[in-house]
Symmetry: D2
Subunit: 322 residues, 4 copies
């Protein structure tokens, strides 16, 4: 048996074993978000103890991680109206000066939806001409996607969040680029947080790479090498019925990739076949500090993406409520 056949076996095996196509109906568009039941949301709300709200988002601006490669750039922002113009008495609205010494500001942004903190929607990745639940890839054309667009998630991704702080559980400030997080690592991080990962959980997976970048600069963060989930955590994620995994790296999975002749192969069984919701570039630093301080690693998470219709992903205004 050749190498090529071997690696085909693993990818294909995971696809076959863990595909959720049809599991929640032929018209399902939200994948593993189905694991979150209303009862779980209630239970998650009960986890709020101190009332602390922690943002999990990067700021959207020119100081972000993107370099422009692959058409991905940091958010461009433009002033449509400014306070300077107001201060100089130059503003108008609908052709006339504004009455009563009033002024205003407006802005427009040009935003690549994968450029900072975001969820991949279930039309972000294709395999063999199909997207999640078997819809043809060509449903995503120049006008965006008729299925699996971000808008389908606008009331989802609210539930129990569990911070898995892998570097802290190992006693290091961050994992090294190329470190493949195993199922055992996930279990150890859960144990370190005294939580048990279960159905419908939103896993917040800290690798520490972003902490390193905050110290040392973004470097090749966007699209480069990274610590992240091993391809072989797929069975564990499937068996635990997690709703989502959001990490502090650009692509969630380890880079360089583990399978030969592959590019982000974890995304194929996970996103295309399981319909696993994957979050990327979540800022987990403040949350990790808070959890380390009080030892509470479970929380209510509210992180629905903005409903940009027909898109391959979208940014949430994500918060952990503790």
């Amino acid at each position: 048996m050749t190498d090529l056949e071997t690696r085909h076996d693993i990818l294909d095996e995971y696809i076959e074993r863990f595909s959720n196509w049809g599991r929640w109906g032929d018209d399902d568009q939200i994948g593993t978000a189905n694991h979150i039941t209303p009862a779980m949301v209630c239970d998650a709300a009960r986890l709020v103890r101190s009332g602390q709200v922690v943002s999990l988002a990067l700021h959207f601006d020119q100081r972000g991680p993107q370099t422009g490669a692959n058409g991905r750039f940091n958010c461009l922002r433009y002033s449509v109206a400014t306070g300077s113009d107001h201060e100089l008495g130059l503003q108008r609205w609908a052709g006339a000066p504004l009455p009563r010494q009033m002024g205003f500001a407006d802005d427009t942004v040009v935003l690549h939806l994968q450029s900072a903190t975001h969820w991949d929607s279930l039309c972000h990745i294709f395999h063999r001409g199909r997207m999640y639940n078997g819809y043809p890839a060509s449903e995503f054309g120049a006008q965006g996607s008729a299925r699996n667009g971000t808008e389908t998630l606008k009331a989802k991704l609210v539930g129990r969040g569990v911070l898995l702080d892998v570097p802290r559980s190992k006693g290091v400030p961050w994992l090294q680029d190329g470190y493949a997080i195993t199922a055992e690592d996930l279990e150890a991080a859960a144990e370190h947080g005294r939580v048990t990962v279960g159905d419908g959980d939103i896993l917040l997976l800290r690798t520490g790479q972003m902490a390193r970048c905050f110290e040392q600069g973004w470097g090749t963060y966007a699209g480069g090498d990274a610590p992240g989930l091993s391809f072989h955590t797929i069975p564990w994620l499937a068996e635990h019925n997690v709703a989502a995994v959001a990490s502090d790296t650009w692509g969630c999975e380890v880079r360089p990739n583990e399978l030969p002749d592959s590019f982000q192969p974890f995304h194929i069984p996970a996103l295309v076949y399981m319909g696993l919701l994957i979050g990327e570039m979540f800022n987990l630093e403040e949350l990790a500090e808070a959890c380390a301080e009080d030892g509470m690693y479970e929380m209510l998470v509210s992180a629905p993406p903005l409903p940009f219709t027909g898109t391959a992903g979208g940014p949430p205004g994500p918060v952990a409520i503790r």
Copy 2:
């Protein structure tokens, strides 16, 4: 005394009586969001009973309310990569074909931040050369704002939400354009929902205008006449220490405006001086149905805006959790 002096008195009187400049420190940038304490967030979490999650957002796409007037347009979305190209075997990443029959889609949006569901940040409106808390208006220049930008709210606007369904409390499907909602109307709507408005509440103010537009088309919704808060509700809002008011109209306050020679005058004492967080174009229809059904008009709201740095406002991925 002339008319001009009279009306100056009212605007000036409200500014003097209700200004919060300095109330939360000289460096405060979040205004009435300060009213929400951690204890209130805890209490709000206890309101979750059924685990139902309801989105309060419009979809961001070309079907939105904007007409292009005043530089405001409906969200433009572009495909950076498509499933069609994947299906035809034409995709590449970093210059090479994608291995293992994989494909992907990406999008970029051009988004006017006030074009659909959004919070005004506290640098959105100026008066006499100043923004909230007395900062010079010119701190908002071509590069955006150094103060009061949307990013300051990234962990705020989570708390107790109260739906004030004014038309339902009056037994009508929607309020007419030009109807000025009074403090008495707010009280009656609260009573209809068997809630008492109090400190730190996030008021969700339904006028029904959006319901009418869903039936009849947007028409002049964006920037035109509308039902909305009377200028004279300011004392009531201030005295109740509400954290925020989010309505289903483009500008929250009644149009045509009540004060002569004015344009959105409520925004001056409310946003510039009180630092009141104002939400606009929230979609409250599904929520109103749910509340009418089970009679529960209070809930946990999670609606922090995306942290677009230095902007005059920003869209949240807002949800009511019930």
Copy 3:
């Protein structure tokens, strides 16, 4: 024989008779621009008599003809830096104040390339999966076109221009919407201008519709009914070996279209098969005045589009030099 068969015959007949696929080589990307020889450019330069330079461009701004339909909108412009900020002493470059009391302004535009004055490039229209010269339509994917992009025309569309002022030759201020300009009309307009249309000419076709819009507002100009070339002028255009036709309407051909069950059918034989360069929304008003005044209807035209790589069209900075 049914109607359907009849009309197929006409479209197919023109395609067969007038296709230029392969005429200038299997790798040609500029179509009828090949008709312009260097000698013709020399001759055209000799037509310059007074040294008058007339712009043929609409301004690119929010006052343009687009309504937002079909994803086409008027040019958005944003200030990256302003004189107001300079005047208030607030500008910085690379993080530091600008020395010596200097200031600057910069702008970014968001421009739909078909929104105002532009040339269609030869990848703008497809037929049966092909673009001009037989290249597969799929060479135009999400990343733009590998062939026939606007950049191929960056040194083309310079030559003899001939103004065909059809309404003036008929003694009317403008042609009515729906008026189909015939080959006879073109001949009459040439005669009126005392010119003979010939090889390599850039025809500037005035219908007067834009003059009417300047008087009465844009209305449905963009995408609506219009006077324009009859489908049946194709033989005349082909036989005269014209290099290009640029008109003052949005789509050059008459609307409503003449063939049943069709949308802009002229574009199929003309652009896809002949490779005819088609210019749209050219502002011919000032030129028409100048030509009427001195009776000179031929001139040097310089109108190469900006080389936006891989695009379906692009705006020139077009001038008539007389």
Copy 4:
């Protein structure tokens, strides 16, 4: 006398000696473009000998020189409709499939107007609160400029072009970064081309820096060190009544700058006070080859910028016609 006073003297001296404010009327907005008379355009047209047309533009795409610094990025292009979607039978127009097997492509670009080949308009630079001809800098606000915008040049910058190939006249492939081109160098380059620079000329100033970048990569081309005009060429340019100078560098003048405590100081007397039209990032490589081959260094240039209303500059579709 201190150093500071000395250098103030030079800048102030040039401003005083060479200011053209009011020279062409209090409402002039085109500066040295006034030097070009219709007779000169006629004469320039007579220079066309072979009919060769050479583009002077860089392509507008992601392969351009910008790095993202200072808000300047390479042109972003998005497909609004694609041939791939057509090929798969998925395209629609106005909600319906396109008849007769027709398809189309459209594009939108996001373009920083100073990112590639462009003219600075006369509202690009300010000094002491003023722009060219004394207009207040604050006329350029968030909505763009009320004066001196690019649209004023839409029928200008057509005339006699003279290529000054400085490196070729010196026998080197390119000038080194930091090399300050003197008036003597300009004279020598003119002599090398057997031309005399005179009234209304459009100087095409080749430094060879772009040739080096084509060989070695852009590196710090955008905003970095460069060969270019010495500050002290201002008297020569003023005395020769040139209409414009367009070079193959990002900023036309030498970098590092010659005056202490300065940033692009040449732009102050030249653009703000003389109203000199400055072109940047012109691609003169093909033209230089052509001129070297036949020894003809004068030509007709047609290079009006696109009339983007109220902008600080704009790209032309520039050609030399020889």
